[in-house]
Amino acid sequence: MIRVVLPAHLRALAGVDGEVELAVPGQITQRTVLDALEARYPVLCGTIRDHGGGRRRAFVRFFACEQDLSHEPPDTPLPDAVATGTEPYLIVGAMAGG
């Protein structure tokens, strides 16, 4: 199972507490994980990636295994530690404000 950590606002929107566990068929990439996440929680469509083109929203970041994967191609396989569920895939709202 793939472990996904959502930011607080998206947890509230999806109505979940804590991590989300997803069964993702096939290759484990950012695209397949996000596709599975949006299929489970359609309310998240458009909040992480744009409708249509699937471009990451500007103030959303993707982290895993202490790496920033936000600029990685969406079809690049995620680290094995994410694919095996050892490490979570983090969806993060960029720090901003004051």
Binding site: H9, L13, V43, C45, T47, I48, G93
Partner: protein
Amino acid sequence: MTGVRVLVGTRKGAFVLSSDGKREQWEVSGPHFAGWEIYHVKGSPADPSRLFASQTSGWFGQVIQRSDDGGQTWQAVGNEFGYDGVPGTHQWYDGTPHPWEFARVWHLEPSLDDPDTVWAGVEDAGLFRSADGGQTWQELPGLRCHASAPSWQPGAGGMCLHTIILDPDTPSRMFAAISAAGAFRSDDAGQTWRPVNRGLRSDGIPDPDAEVGHCVHRLAMHPDRPGVLYMQKHWDVMRSDDGGESWHEVSGNLPTDFGFPIDVHAHEPDTVYVVPITSDSHHFPPEGKLRVYRSKTGGDEWEPLTSGLPQEHCYVNVLRDAMAVDRLDSCGVYFGTTGGQVYASADAGDNWAPIVRDLPAVLSVEVQTLP
């Protein structure tokens, strides 16, 4: 008529304020969607239990929420606002062409007679419609594709379609207003549009009486007299007696004619309310005194309403969608401030009291009069 429900959108969530017909004791519910900007919440005239809310975030984009029980529970509905076809360009702040980009929904206008139909005014300026209770949205591109649209420029707050008015007598007629393009009218239910800005004069644009380019802040109409429109422009309070074909200024004796909201008494089509703001560079009331101004003559002659409102050290603003009236026998008037106060008057503005004092900055106020 047994009560009212005040729907408040703020920078950090939505609030529902409820009272009986006396409008003295209030029950406060919220924050709903805590932490999100709620640009607008409005109920369906055809089914008061049905509410629509525009929930937005710079991080996570647009969500539309719908309640079918008067705001007790909510469900997210459709949030895909795709412009029809390949969007063209409008002018950017530096004068260069800039592609149309959806940013957020500023205003939701439910149909007068169908609870499943609702209109949405969005930034960058466009008009959308849902006929399935908000599940799906389709643009009516006639407005965005108007021949003048490539010359439109955003105001400081973005290029937003912030006002939608449906004509109750002529269902095919509707009005929209865009900052900073101006007022537009459709006579075919939103398919085609034309500017209705004749008589406006704006010194802040190169051609002061241009057909488009005016920063219209708000339009208001009384449902019993839909040919008469009132407008709060960036500067100037205006009136049209011919469905927007021409406008004349009715600022009269206002201390300043800059402001954002404008509204009309529920039972007196000639009674109009504005909240004068010092200037475009000082978005707070003149002299630190929060005063609603009322005209009982359809403009020109205005009286300050101050009872119960702070008359010193008050430096809040009242935004364009943050004033509304109820339809009880003694018309109630409501407005919210950027300081988080929502004020109510149960006697048409003669006396005011805060319902709440410490909400986040108020973006919008709507009122439902409940049977």
